[in-house]
Amino acid sequence: MSEHAELKTGPLEYRREDGPLTILGFWIFLAAEVVLFSTLFATYAVLFGRYGDATPAHELFEMPMALTMTFLLLVSSFTCGIAVHMMRKESLKGLVIWLIITLALGLGFLGFEIYEFVHYVHEGATIQSSAFWSAFFTLTGTHGLHVTLGVFWCTAIIIQLIRFGLTPVIARKTFIIGLYWHFLDVVWIFIFTAVYLIGMVV
């Protein structure tokens, strides 16, 4: 590790020398996450339509539900962007408020996802029903777990922001959770297209 000399200008999260280092590390971690989700998408594509005796997807998928979830997550990504914008303006209050809004939208998304899963299980499509449903629940469930982790993580950072204020270290952490949150949004766009849109048509 090198000196922790602090710069006086530039974005807060880049002012300490370990800031850019950690952020680069996180970008690389996201590259690994891309591979992780790609593998799950490939698995889903391979097992697509392999229902066995279970209900086919197009009988269960509903556009309003999928659209609502997409809307919630997309807007949460937007509010997360505003939060980082607030951080750039060094407005602690604005940052915290917009992060809380982001969290609320994320929780809304999770609520719908849980409702959706419960609904499918009641209709007889469980993770054990057939290869297709195993792949479906694993792909969307992995994304859902990531969102859940993000909610807990973001909560921890809001607590730190309130307790310790906007320091370069906490700014770095906030910036990284922002990257993570946008990444989850990008993954969801692929899920919406590859799973719901295609699943309803084919």
Partner: protein
């Protein structure tokens, strides 16, 4: 309760296992006794278990890898004993299946990989003039997840039974129907646990190499071993998430009843083979490229010449890394993919021979007209070239899809990959360990004993594996626990070779003990008249590595420094050095993950769920940890350096 422990929990009924249990208990008691008697617990905790210093972490990786080499080696000797004569009754078929599975898994994932990562930890930050890796805490965490993953895998042979479906764990063999016992779960969770650490290591070293090089060191001025570590890190980052998913899917199949790889519910068993080798083939290059890096360093140092074709070496590694991701189907040409697919993968496979051949010629070019010193590291490098070439050429033979129908799953394949992995990776690791040994421990390894161990190993290796090419062509299948009479002479020869090879390893280990006691201490820090930056600092290396960091002009930074008289201790440039504090959290968190994984192996959710919660609690503790580390004051740097450089006492 007692019934469960005796019939299911512990493995019973075999004298060898009872012996193993007794020796595990005795060894544990012995270690605890020694640590307590000599009051070493605090020292162990303060200096090693909580360390974030890349040099110490590297040493721990290498010690663990040598221990695993011993474990995998004993497995190999047991297999060879069983195969020495027809109708041997040394191992029964089930036990034999378990042993070839653990031999393969342990040697690749718990010996070769950690050995390589250990050498990377020791050498890379020193070679690029850095004071540590980018994320020291994460580095410690990587080591401990590997360590506990390896432990989880190793307890399987006395607790619950070892996995027995081969190191590739093909379904349906490894699935819940044909392997209903818990043993396969050990494979899944142990690999998952250590895989987390490997991915973290990949990210850590990529950032370290990209961002923490000494001033002036552009990418094309990096030492070649650092280049190999960079390429390896990139392969790790793109390959390991695939393994993570493959293991997770099989875990879901086995523990939660999903249908990814099952025959029921329209699952696809063949998808496992694709996912496994989509990770598994790049894995081959994860363990071979750093060995290439070591050989390049060693050959250039001991031929006393600049590395021939430095840029070609770098580009060759990049091409190999790219190709490593597009050849996986050659592991199952016989699955019935069709002529088109097989041809494509046959061609990509053979293409790898081109950059590899370029590297071989560059090593030969480096030695041409060099004044070669035949020290032990150089001997390993010299033995590597012809032996590895045999492995490579037979690899091209296997890469021809049509011919592969003849060799597939025979001993020809076994011989091929042992020629590649032992002559490549293992010789490379032994070369690297003897080469950097003085940097790590402050004394060289004994040359004479080293040479004896070298000759035993190389001769034993060839006696073991050369006959196996012919056994394969005679039709002897792999993973068979008993042999036909006509295969007997060559098998007997092979078994004799295995014991000679093992003797070589034992002498190598003895050399570590002997050298620690009797070899003269190394004072200069430049044990071999080296050419890259790791030799520019003193021995033993101070915990901050370099007092002042030099400006780098070429890929042989230290060679230039020696010519211009530059030093890594420039008193006028001294500044306080920032260092991270030691942390107990990595080992504690990994231990909790071990518990959670052990719970999942046994389907004990009462243990697995609290374990996972414990992991989350550890992450929160880490998030709220604002420890900034500390600064080494200038006075202390002066004192350390002057003492190490022999100027003052």
């Amino acid at each position: 309760m007692w019934d469960f422990i005796w019939n299911d929990f512990l493995v019973t009924g075999e004298p060898i296992i009872y012996g193993a249990m007794a020796s595990i208990v005795l060894a544990t008691v012995g270690i605890v006794f020694v640590l307590t008697y000599f009051k070493l617990w605090k020292w162990l905790w303060d200096e090693y278990l909580t360390t974030v210093d890349h040099k110490k972490i590297g040493i721990m990786y290498i010690i663990a890898a040598l221990a695993m080499l011993f474990r995998g080696g004993v497995d190999a000797l047991m297999m060879r004993t069983q195969l020495a004569l027809p109708n041997m009754n040394f191992l029964n078929s089930v036990h034999y299946n378990e042993i070839f599975t653990t031999h393969g898994t342990v040697m690749i994932l718990f010996m070769a990989m950690p050995f390589i990562i250990g050498l990377m930890n020791v050498a890379v930050p020193l070679q690029i003039g850095a004071r540590d890796v980018a994320f020291p805490f994460l580095n410690a965490f990587s080591f401990w997840t590997f360590f506990f993953g390896a432990m989880l895998f190793n307890i399987s042979f006395v607790i619950g039974g070892s996995p027995s479906a081969g190191w590739t764990s093909y379904v349906p063999m490894a699935g819940p129907e044909l392997s209903p016992e818990i043993n396969q779960n050990y494979y899944l969770l142990a690999l998952q646990l250590s895989g987390i650490g490997t991915l973290a290591t990949g990210i850590n070293f990529l950032v370290t190499i990209l961002r923490m090089r000494a001033p002036g060191m552009t990418l094309m001025k990096m030492p070649i071993f650092t280049w190999s570590a960079l390429i390896t890190s990139i392969i790790i980052i793109f390959a390991f998430p695939i393994l993570t998913i493959a293991l997770a899917l099989m875990t879901l199949d086995r523990i939660f009843g999903t249908h990814f790889f099952t025959l029921a519910g329209e699952g696809m068993p063949m998808m496992w083979a694709n996912l496994f080798w989509l990770w598994g083939h790049p894995e081959v290059y994860i363990v071979i490229l750093p060995a290439f890096g070591v050989f390049s360093e060693v050959i250039s140092t001991f031929a006393r010449k600049q590395l021939f074709g430095y840029k070609a070496m770098v580009y060759a590694m990049c091409v190999i890394a790219g190709l490593s991701f597009v050849v996986w189907v050659h592991h199952f040409f016989t699955m019935g993919a069709g002529a088109g697919v097989n041809s494509l993968f046959s061609i990509t496979t053979m293409l790898i021979a081109v950059p590899t051949g370029i590297k071989i010629f560059n090593w030969l070019g480096t030695m041409y007209k060099g004044r070669i010193r035949f020290n032990v590291p150089m001997l390993w490098a010299l033995a590597f070239i012809p032996n590895f070439t045999i492995g490579g050429v037979t690899g091209v033979m296997l890469g021809m899809a049509s011919a592969d129908y003849q060799y597939h799953n025979t001993y020809f394949l076994i011989a091929h990959f042992h020629y590649v992995l032992i002559a490549g990776t293992l010789f490379g690791m032994f070369a690297g360990l003897t080469y950097w040994y003085p940097k790590m421990f402050g004394h060289k390894m004994n040359e004479k004993i080293g040479k004896i161990s070298f000759w035993f190993t190389v001769i034993g290796f060839n006696i073991t594996f050369l006959p196996q090419f012919f056994l394969g062509l005679m039709g002897m299948p792999r993973r068979t626990y008993t042999i036909e009479p006509e295969w007997m002479p060559l098998n007997l020869l092979s078994t004799a070779g295995a014991f000679i090879l093992a003797t070589g390893f034992v002498i190598f280990t003895f050399n570590i003990y002997y050298s620690a006691r009797y070899e003269p201490r190394e004072k200069t820090g430049d044990a071999w008249d080296g050419r890259s930056l790791e030799w520019a600092t003193t021995t033993p290396v101070p915990h901050y590595n370099f007092a002042t960091i030099p400006y780098v002009n070429s890929h042989e930074a230290y060679w230039d420094m020696k010519e211009t008289g530059a030093t890594t201790y420039d008193e006028s440039k001294l500044e306080p050095i920032h260092m991270p504090s030691y942390k107990g959290l990595p080992i504690i968190m990994s231990a909790i993950m071990f518990m959670a994984s052990f719970g999942l192996v046994w389907h004990w959710f009462w243990l697995a769920i609290p374990g996972l919660l414990g992991v989350i609690i550890c992450m929160v503790i880490r998030s709220f940890d604002f420890d900034e580390g500390y600064h080494v004051p200038i006075d202390e740097i002066k004192r350390t350096e002057e003492q190490a450089r022999g100027r003052k006492e």
